[in-house]
Amino acid sequence: MSEKKRSRLTAGTFMIMLVLIVLAVLILLPFYSIVLASLRPGTEIMRQGIGLRIDPSIMSLGNYRYVFTDERYFTWFFNSILITAIQTALTLAVSAFVGYGFAMYEFRFKNLLFICVLFIMMVPLEIIMLPLYQLIVRLKLINSIWGVILPSIASPLPIFFFRQYLSGIPKDFLDAARIDGCNEYSIFFRIIVPLMKPSFAAMGIFVGMNSWNNYLWPLIVLRENRKLTLPVGLGSLLTPYGNNYDLLIAGSVFSIIPIVILFLFFQRSFIAGMTAGGIKE
């Protein structure tokens, strides 16, 4: 009986492992094929698409030469780093501040305001992009990194996340700090912020990754080629003629590398940040 059960179990495990391995291979296939394609001349990719055939006679690292010598790529890369850094820092600071307010105090309109937070979680940017664009024009922020950054510094998911995170801190703790002479703001900056480090890591990676990969809004706001971010710049190379494919494909692969390295180092924080919305109280 137990012998039979064990053998059925291993058969089940075998099937599960088989499914997982096949899926893993399928998921890795696009990565493999794009890396392979980046070693081939752009004209060749345009003509043949990307496949799995390895043909050493036409393969070289030549495309990557553009990544390091093409001035556009360097500029876009730098712009992306700048925007990602500023946006992440500002979003974390503002959302933690706001999230603390929601978590620690009772005040009039609190519920109404929190419903607003939940409501805008369900309003895709795409819906309001026309009037938002006009607003940014009127504020004279077109073609400026601030036009890209400002509309999303009070984004709902980080606020929600920090509120949930801080709800676990007992309020007696605050009263003790008040008795010791702290005012409301020094409690936040001196006592709470240091306690929030793990949540900053998780949200920072989430916000940073979204900012690094963000495409639609920077595409709308940024006008000049030298101001573009990396995804928008790469997108601008997508012409029907395929004359820029050398830079496009090598640049694409190169743009994935930093984030994959970060992911391998900070896996836990990545996953915690990406799945933050699913947290239950």
Binding site: L28, E126, L130, Y215, L238, P240, I271
Partner: protein, 305 residues
């Protein structure tokens, strides 16, 4: 002089008082909400009753809404709805199963699988879309055609080909590739909250693996499923960039791959019909909110609050 110092001290102590501090804390959100969400939404409503031309605006009543269903709008809505339904049908059950597999004690190399499944979520839509456009290329040497070629099938024009299902298939593959891993993570964190004892006592009572799955795992994962469904509906109805990338910047042959937001983008940025674009946006907002509220209600989300 003395008076002035006192009053500024009064303001300072008011700002630092426990009564005012909460409003200071939430102020940045209130400002951002009014400026970057409420104002655009109201402005959208107003513009949807107008004909907006550079330099002049004309009130045209409900004309935009009457004209809403002309042109490619119906096609776009149909595409978005079909896409949303299929993604929800795939991106909920498959990640549940995979999460259960990854959570099982017998599975070897769990962390490696987790990392691999999650990798596509790190890639920008530009790079992902571009890669899949080349994989789904119509040339016989493109990845998918070369694979089906091994089985003797003729090369297929996947994107915008004669049969609409090939386009949906490509979009769906891209979407599943990007999001399966993220949904698996949601379910894995949901699974951590289910106590091991439940399974043990069910096993003692003679419940098999399937029974344990259907009577314990599935019901207890319901909050996670509610959340995943909500973001899938939201993401599906607002999908735009994936199809734009697959079709190389908005040339949708015969309206294939055109989504609601794709249509909105075309109206607003390519045809300068901003009023009509706003009407389309509000339609989408209403549908997304309605579907999600119904979904949350059916799942009993409001009763638990």
């Amino acid at each position: 002089m003395k008076q002035k110092r006192k009053s500024s001290g009064g303001f300072r102590s008011l700002l630092y008082s426990q009564k005012v501090a909460p409003y200071v804390f939430v102020a940045p959100f209130v400002i951002a909400f009014l400026l970057f969400y409420l104002y655009p939404i109201i402005s959208s409503v107003i513009m949807s009753f107008q004909e907006v031309l550079p330099g002049q605006v004309r009130f045209i009543g409900l004309s935009n809404y009457k004209n809403l269903f002309r042109g490619d709008f119906v096609k776009a809505v149909r595409n978005s709805v079909i896409y949303t339904v299929i993604t929800c049908a795939v991106l909920v059950p498959v990640p549940i199963l995979l999460a259960v597999f990854l959570n099982s004690k017998q599975t070897v190399g769990k962390n490696t699988f987790r990392v691999i499944f999650f990798l596509p979520a790190l890639v920008s839509v530009v790079v992902g879309g571009f890669t899949f456009r080349l994989i789904f290329g119509e040339m016989p040497t493109a990845l998918l055609n070369s694979v089906i070629g091994v089985f003797g099938a003729k090369p297929v024009k996947w994107l915008g080909g004669p049969a609409p299902w090939t386009t949906f298939f490509a979009l769906l593959v891209l979407c599943c590739w990007r999001w399966t891993g993220v949904n698996i993570m949601y379910y894995l964190s949901g699974l951590q909250n289910i106590s091991e004892e439940l399974y043990d006592s069910a096993s003692i009572d003679g419940a098999g693996a399937w029974q344990r799955f259907f009577y314990i795992t599935l019901p207890l994962l319901k909050p996670t499923t509610t959340y995943v469904l909500t973001i899938s509906i939201y993401g599906g109805m607002a999908m735009f960039l994936e199809s734009r990338m697959l079709f190389n910047g908005g040339r949708y042959p015969g309206g294939q791959g055109l989504t609601i937001v794709g249509y909105l983008y075309r109206l607003g940025w390519e045809q300068n019909r901003i009023g009509l674009g706003c009407a389309v946006g509000l339609f989408l907002l209403a549908v997304t909110l309605a579907v999600n509220l119904v979904q949350l209600r059916v799942s009993g989300f409001f009763e638990r609050r």
